[in-house]
């Protein structure tokens, strides 16, 4: 595996009319899958947009795939090796799934018709949309449309793949299938996966970055983050008032996440979600930060 950094961000700052979306963010990513977690308004989407070169930072240095995207040539070169699935995506009326992905393929400079069609079929099969490729996108379900979006991001097996909420609306079986696709791609590409689904991050990512109010709270391995919650998650028959978060599970017991499991309580193995909750520390609504 190539260990050269694909992404190097230094001192990245972005503000929207007085609201700070990102503040002095430093990040270095190598090939592999990195999960990006954070509450609403933390700056995840802003960070992804900067990585996708569709948004320029107000300050700091961006280096992607060995190039700095300041000139038109460098931008084009980076974008040839980049795939991006934005959080929200509209589709033009009348386009089939195949036609839309093909359109993006043309934009990605796949000028030879035969190889372009072959590549479009390949990515649509990867996301299990081969059978409905000729159906209009507007006639597809929300999850299927999301997969069309993912297909266009996978065109050309990009070296840098940026996915903002890729599994929204996708059924569990398809999510597992997509995990297989992404884990294979992650062997050679740098993938940044922004999601609220902590189980996807736990299942796929070797590394996780937690953003809050435009700053990085945690940058390390998933195992290390989960480790911070060891001994701080316990089960009980009732909600524990000492817990930071407590909820009734399907078994009828209460899962409590807190500072420290009380003596005599029944500790349980923490999940990434527990660690994430503890990291954010029950801070309530974050204010003044754009997504």
């Amino acid at each position: 595996m190539n260990t050269t950094a694909s992404v190097e961000l230094t001192g990245i700052t972005k503000r929207y009319r007085g609201t700070t979306a990102l503040e002095g963010v430093d990040l270095s990513l190598r090939p592999g899958i990195t999960g990006l977690l954070g509450p609403n308004g933390a700056g995840k989407t802003t960070l992804l947009r900067i990585l996708a070169t569709v948004l320029a930072p107000d300050a700091g240095v961006v280096r992607l795939l060995g190039r700095v995207p300041t000139s038109a040539e460098a931008l084009a070169e980076i974008r040839r090796r980049l795939g991006y699935l934005p959080q929200e995506m509209g589709f033009p009326r009348g386009f089939t799934g195949f036609a839309f992905v093909e359109y993006v393929a043309v934009l990605k400079e796949w000028t030879a018709r035969d190889s372009r069609h072959e590549e479009v079929r390949r990515v649509l099969d990867l996301v299990d949309l081969g059978d409905v490729a000729t159906r209009r996108v507007r006639a597809l379900s929300g999850g299927q449309r999301r997969r069309v979006g993912l297909a266009q991001a996978l065109l050309g097996a990009p070296d840098l793949l940026l996915l903002d909420e890729p599994t929204t609306g996708v059924d569990p079986e398809q999510r597992v299938s997509l995990r297989q696709v992404l884990s294979t791609a992650g062997e050679r590409s740098t993938i940044v996966l922004s999601t609220h689904q902590t189980e996807d991050v736990a299942a796929l990512c070797d590394r996780v970055v937690v953003l809050d109010r435009g700053r990085i709270l945690f940058d390390g391995s998933v195992r290390d983050l989960v480790g911070t919650a060891r001994g701080r998650v316990w089960l009980a028959d009732a909600p524990d008032p000492q817990a930071r978060a407590s909820w009734r599970t399907g078994t009828g017991r209460h899962r409590n996440v807190g500072a420290l499991a009380p003596r005599g309580s029944e500790p349980t193995e923490p999940t990434l979600e527990d660690a994430y909750l503890l990291l954010l520390g029950g801070r309530g609504q974050t204010t003044g930060v754009a997504a």
């Binding site: 070169t53 974008r79 980049l82 993006v104 000028t111």
Partner: protein
């Protein structure tokens, strides 16, 4: 790479990439329902008009036939160009992360606007052949060169309309901007004909020929004889072509940065100057009206 992955193509020449994109946009244009309706309307109105001509062959001059492609393909084409441009707004963020930036995508859309132009040229060829075939007596007041320029201006309008639609879609965000553009365009054209109701003068000719489309043949009242307005159809045709260039350049302006933006501004400035010169040359000839 895992098995089954294709080799990513080497970065192609920019022209090749633009050509592929333009071909794709041209196919989208050709499949647009409003364009197809425009073509059907052109065929139908041409059939009716030439039928009338054939019936009244001894007495009628074809007059302003260029109105037909100008409306059917040009004015309706404003909607088509606008709709094609706006249709991808929802995916703008994903498309913005591709090597084909907004300027290239706009250039491809502008090239696709040649589709109605090709249809209009076919129409010009057909009309010329039909006029000769039916031996329609053409008034000697209009030279063959002037008549050719008049017919061709309809074909240029068939390109200019969609280009204007692309321009409006790139510069405006509000819903209904296509209809506003069409109303403004139609209003400007109609306003230019006000001078035809006034005594001939160079200022009247200037007002008449400054519009993006104009009628050359008119009459003082329904019962009086028709006449040809003053001015040069040839230079007016050149003016229209330059208006098309201005529309395309202005459409490319949003999204262009750095040296490219400077180039676009220079082209815009040059085209504007030459357009004004052509308009002046179109107005210079004798403004007197010539009876048909």
């Amino acid at each position: 790479m895992s098995a089954g992955l294709l080799e990513r193509p080497a970065a192609p020449a920019q022209t090749l990439a633009l050509r592929s994109l333009a071909a794709l946009e041209a196919r989208r244009y050709a499949r647009s329902p409003l364009f197809l309706i425009g073509v059907s309307l052109l065929v139908w109105t041409t059939t009716v008009a030439t039928g009338d001509l054939a019936k009244n062959a001894a007495t009628a001059d074809p007059g302003d036939l260029d109105l037909l492609p100008a409306f059917c393909l040009g004015l309706l084409g404003v909607f088509v160009g606008h709709q094609l441009t706006r249709s991808l707004d929802g995916a703008d963020e994903a498309l913005g992360a591709t090597p084909s930036d907004r300027v290239r995508r706009t250039a491809a859309l502008c090239l696709a606007c040649l589709v109605p132009g090709v249809v209009a040229l076919v129409w010009v060829g057909w009309m010329s052949a039909a006029l000769a075939m039916w031996r329609i007596p053409l008034s000697a007041s209009i030279s063959s060169g002037a008549r050719a320029a008049m017919l061709l201006s309809g074909a240029v309008c068939a390109v200019g309309g969609p280009l204007f639609g692309v321009l409006v879609a790139r510069w405006t965000r509000f819903p209904g901007s296509a209809l506003v553009a069409v109303v403004v365009l139609a209003g400007w054209t109609l306003l230019s004909t006000v001078s035809l109701a006034q005594p001939p003068s160079r200022s009247g000719t200037f007002l008449h020929l400054s519009a993006p489309f104009t009628a050359w043949v008119s009459m003082d009242s329904p019962r009086s004889a028709a006449w040809v307005a003053g001015g040069s159809p040839g230079w007016y045709l050149a003016y229209l072509v330059l208006l098309c260039g201005l529309a395309a350049s202005a459409a490319l302006f949003p999204g262009s940065t750095g040296p490219r933006r400077t180039r676009v501004l220079r082209v815009l400035g040059s085209l504007a100057v030459v357009a004004v010169v052509c308009l002046v040359l179109a107005v210079l000839p004798d403004p007197a009206r010539i009876p048909l």
